[in-house]
């Protein structure tokens, strides 16, 4: 079966756009209630439980409330930018989803429909490019509000997002080194086992690129402005920062943008490191569409559904991790965050890229072919690197308090308790 082409392709694409925008928005809704329920569970309380069964309809109620609330427009605000900012906050997070493959290809009478909205050849370079636009929403919202707190939030936000953008992009370089391709569907295929076609690694990249996953996840966390990186909002310091002056649906759009961003980052981690829609320990779902149109494997509609489920499950678990982190950790301080980004992450990622590059060079010099053993060697290297990394990031070494130096950095915690 050949991939769809021509009019059918256009129609299928429009269908996918509509379908997946709807699904994403629904997912955002579910993510908000999910976060509140999980947070309630973690904090030993019920969470929303008034509207609908288990409070599931709370999001609908909130939506109605936000639509009906008064839209405020601060006198000092710069109107056009003030209105544009929420749009710019929500836009990148949603269109990022276009390059994420979320299920195995679906066979239809008109041909094979790939379950990705736009399989652009530049793949995740698109992700990085579009992801950077998100900073405009924050910076613009903060500046256009005409409030000093918002301005500080906007400044923090733009500095933070630009800084972590670098680490985010660099943390994906080892992935390119490994796959030699930037297309997301190809990256998913590379993590599957095939008997025919070009060689693959037969294992999820979480193993050969463990440290890369860590860097990507941390940078992603910073990109989404969530705790411990929620400094642009920093409720206690900046009274929610760049969206202080927003109300009703405009405020809601910032929130939707944030949750959409969380889901997008979770989906990206899934695709890049957790095998995308691949179902583990089962080879039946291994379907690959080569660039010349050849299809390896046997696509069926139920496999599409199953892999969609697998993708959804992995993404949800990652969203759970996001929520878990948010309700556990305190917040960084602004300078600590920048130090972490520029003075640690950047260097560490660069070193990591070099190490991986040399290891790959070595493996290929030895002559191990791409596949399980290749990945295993990389995994061992990563384990060693991870050990070193977490040792380096231990208490008192990386994040420091004030410069007054009343105590030597870290370590003397117990001395505070005298008799």
């Amino acid at each position: 079966m050949n991939p769809v082409a021509g009019g059918a392709f256009a129609l299928a694409t429009v269908g996918k756009v509509v379908l997946f925008f709807t699904v994403l928005m629904l997912a955002v809704m579910l993510a908000t209630i999910f976060e509140r329920k999980v947070c309630g569970f973690m904090q030993d309380r019920s969470g929303p439980n008034r509207v609908g069964p288990w409070g599931l309809l709370q999001v609908i109620a909130d939506g109605i409330k936000n639509l009906l609330k008064e839209e405020t427009m601060p006198e000092q605000a710069v109107r056009p930018f003030f209105l544009l900012a929420p749009v710019l906050a929500i836009l990148p997070a949603t269109i990022l989803f276009a390059v994420i493959p979320f299920a195995s290809p679906l066979p239809t009478p008109w041909g094979l429909v790939e379950m990705i909205v736009a399989d652009v050849p530049i793949g995740f370079l698109y992700v990085l490019a579009i992801g950077s636009i998100g900073v405009y929403g924050v910076a613009m919202g903060g500046w256009a509000s005409g409030s000093k707190y918002s301005l500080l939030g906007g400044l923090r936000g733009s500095a933070q997002m630009v800084s972590y953008e670098v680490a985010l992009a660099l943390s994906l370089v080892p992935l390119i080194l490994l796959t030699g391709d930037v297309r997301a569907p190809e990256i998913v295929s590379m993590q599957q086992t095939f008997t025919a076609g070009p060689a693959t690694y037969a294992t999820w990249f979480v193993f050969p690129l463990l440290v890369g996953l860590f860097f990507f996840f941390v940078s992603g966390l910073a990109e989404t402005n969530r705790l411990p990186f929620d400094l642009p909002e920093a409720e206690a310091e900046l009274i929610t920062g760049y969206h202080t002056e927003y109300s009703a649906m405009k405020f809601s759009m910032f929130m939707i943008g944030e949750f959409a961003h969380v889901i997008t980052v979770a989906a990206l981690v899934t695709v890049f490191f957790l095998g995308g829609w691949d179902i583990p320990f089962w080879q039946g779902d291994n379907i690959r569409v080569l660039s010349d149109g050849t299809v390896i494997g046997e696509p069926t509609w139920w496999k599409t559904l199953l892999t969609l489920g697998a993708f959804g499950l992995k993404t949800s678990l990652l969203v759970l991790v996001f929520v878990w982190i948010r309700w556990t950790l305190p917040r960084f301080r602004y300078d600590q965050l920048m130090d972490l980004g520029w003075k640690f992450m950047l260097e560490a990622v660069t070193v990591y890229i070099l190490v991986i590059a040399f290891v790959i060079l070595g493996i290929e010099a030895v002559g191990i072919p791409a596949g399980g053993w290749y990945a295993f060697v990389l995994f061992l290297v990563n384990l060693a690197l991870a050990g070193a990394l977490f040792f380096a990031m231990d208490r008192g070494t990386l994040i420091r308090g004030g410069a007054k130096g009343a105590r030597s950095a870290g370590g003397d915690a117990a001395q505070g308790q005298g008799g």
Binding site: P330, G396, A406
Partner: protein, 617 residues
């Protein structure tokens, strides 16, 4: 009017009293002993600066803690009294210096160069009594609005009501005159020059616009630190409505980027004149005012106030009452520290801790409710005892709390103590050295975190605290992290005290049996004519407290909580001074935050554990 108690041996032999008499024979002519037996030296107002300098600087005196500086006014026409309550850390000695300042010459030497604490305290005396202090760097109103022109509220010629001209206040609020809207230091921060006669001169760039008063935006560039990038600092208001100021505290911050160049705290938004109101209430009627000041640990205030009045009455409360007060006091210390822990964690971003601590607070509130019927405003004490005996089953519930509460504390400590981000946010932040802390008059956990083991429970035990076995945790670095550790450890020590107290809780009556002070039981009042007369007199007139004065202090959850009380023998106090520890502690904030980041301002402000109710009173 003031009872001149016979000078007993203890007060007369006080080494500082002797030294003062030798040195200032004429100036320190009168020495009294207050209700607690501590010496009070009345000195000539003209030599107050000299005498206090001697007490501060002479090595065998070394009164390094100015615990309180308060005014009192006996009546219309009488001189204003100013009390300096001193404590020497090195010698463990207490001394009160008092001056009578005649109304025609209301001037004293400022002691701000001896104790940093005197800055705000002298401002308060100026604000309330109109006593001006020579050499004070910034003598202006502190609790009342800057432009308040109606007089000095705590003077006896200032009536409780009827003086306040609302229309004058409103017209001033609506005025376009800058000096009526902004504080002087804000105007100065913004580059405006304020002349002595209250005129405001706009900065040059504003003058070009006709000097029209707009919002304050421009800042003089000479405040910038050396490494500042080109650009002008911004001025932001943190508060009075801000989630991290824990009440209506307003901090005017001058920022260079995110770094604080200057911070000016403004208080008084919650000023309700409790001290003035108390002068118009019977002794027992003052109790409900006390728990509204520190609504986070209300019973400590109740207990302290009752203790102060009982000291004046010179009555011994029953053993059961003492132990019950210890239990309640320690429960409330935990209550206050838990709120501190939760809100500080939320300020630093750890939200969940807040919910954990509030669940435990809820359990203490349930104990409050079971005993008093109220949860926040408990009003639990009466002069001479408690409002009632403990209800059946209460001690079992308290024991259950003491047994299970440390688990939550362990959980919170696991979340925070060794957390890299938490340590990074708190270590070396807001460092207050021991010397500075004492000079600022900072007390409580904040002082102990700086390494000074001063706890009123140990220094001048009350309610039999010397009979309990507990430790006073002391920090080393004096930063936010140490304040956190000290408070967490104090909660554990409080649990220890509660357990010991519950163990020893004796039976017997909770109130004393003197029906001139406590209400007799209804049945007895109906059965005997003598008791009925007592009941009637107590209800109609209230307790009569013999003339005298005292300064009685306890260790509240926030620091040394002092009650400076003067009675003229009537049923109402002449002066009811509440030395809220927060008021003194918060005065150190500008120094602590200078040069730190906005995020640290939040952490440092939280670490001082202030409650605006007792700051503004």
């Amino acid at each position: 009017m003031v009872r001149v108690a016979p000078l007993d041996g203890k007060a007369a032999s006080h080494p500082s009293v002797r030294a003062l008499r030798e040195r200032f024979s004429e100036g320190a002519r009168r020495v009294e002993s207050d209700a607690l037996g501590y010496p009070v030296v009345w000195i000539d107002p003209r030599i107050n600066g000299e005498a206090l300098r001697f007490l501060r600087e002479a090595p065998d005196q070394a009164y390094d803690l100015l615990a309180d500086l308060m005014g009192a006014h006996a009546g219309i026409g009488a001189p204003i009294q100013v009390w300096y309550q001193l404590w020497s850390m090195a010698h463990g000695r207490q001394l009160r210096i008092a001056c009578e300042v005649p109304m025609h010459d209301l001037e004293l030497d400022s002691v701000t160069d001896l104790w940093l604490a005197a800055d705000w305290l002298e401002r308060e005396v100026w604000d309330m009594y109109g006593v001006s202090f020579r050499g004070h760097p910034d003598l202006r109103r502190i609790l009342m609005p800057e432009n308040y022109e109606e007089g000095f509220p705590l003077r006896k010629d200032f009536p409780l009501r009827g003086r306040f001209s609302r229309s004058a206040q409103v017209s001033r609020a609506l005025s376009r005159d800058l000096i009526d809207i902004y504080a002087v230091d804000e105007l100065e921060m913004a580059g405006y020059a304020v002349t002595d006669d209250g005129g405001v001169r706009a900065p040059p760039e504003r003058a070009a616009e006709g000097g029209a008063p707009g919002g304050i935006r421009d800042v003089s560039p000479d405040e910038q630190p050396e490494d500042a990038l080109e650009g002008e600092p911004i001025l932001i208001n943190m508060g009075p409505q801000h989630p991290a100021t824990h009440g209506v505290l307003r901090l005017v911050l001058q920022l260079d980027g995110e770094r604080v160049v200057r911070c000016s705290p403004h208080i008084g938004y919650l000023h309700t004149g409790f001290e003035k109101t108390c002068e118009f209430r019977e002794w027992n009627q003052c109790v409900p005012y006390t728990d509204r000041m520190d609504y986070l640990a209300p019973m400590l205030y109740n207990i302290g106030y009752a203790g102060a009045v009982e000291a004046l009455l010179d009555v011994e409360i029953t053993e059961r009452c003492r132990v019950v007060r210890v239990i309640l006091g320690e429960l409330n210390r935990i209550l206050g520290h838990l709120l501190w822990l939760g809100t500080t964690a939320i300020d630093i971003g750890a939200f969940s801790v807040f919910l954990y601590t509030f669940q435990e607070r809820e359990r203490i509130y349930n104990l409050h409710e079971a005993y008093t019927g109220g949860r926040i405003t408990t009003s639990v004490t009466r002069v001479g005892g408690m409002m009632a005996d403990l209800p059946v089953g209460w001690t079992a519930a308290a024991r259950d709390f003491a047994a299970t509460f440390p688990e939550t504390l362990d959980e919170v400590e696991r979340l925070l103590s060794r957390n890299a981000i938490w340590q990074g946010r708190t270590m070396d932040i807001g460092v207050l050295s021991a010397d500075r802390a004492v000079s600022y008059g900072v007390t409580g956990p904040t002082l102990r975190a700086s390494g000074v083991a001063y706890d009123v429970r140990k220094a001048r035990p009350y309610l039999g605290y010397e009979e309990y076995d507990f430790d006073v945790p002391v920090g080393t670095a004096g930063d936010v992290y140490d304040r956190y550790l000290v408070r967490v450890e104090e909660m554990r020590q409080s649990v220890r005290i509660i357990e010991q107290a519950l163990e020893r809780l004796p039976g017997g009556p909770i109130n004393i049996d003197d029906y001139r002070i406590v209400l007799p039981p209804k049945g007895e009042a109906m059965g005997s004519i003598d008791t009925m007369i007592s009941h009637f007199k107590l209800v109609m007139e209230g307790v009569r407290v013999p003339a005298g004065e005292t300064w009685y202090s306890i260790e509240s959850s926030k620091g040394e909580l002092g009650f400076g009380i003067v009675s003229d023998g009537g049923t109402k106090p002449v002066r009811c001074r509440f030395r809220g520890p927060s008021f003194i502690n918060i005065a150190s904030l500008p120094e602590l935050v200078r040069g730190e980041l906005v995020a640290d301002v939040v952490a440092i402000n939280a670490s001082l554990d202030v409650v605006l109710g007792e700051i503004d009173r």
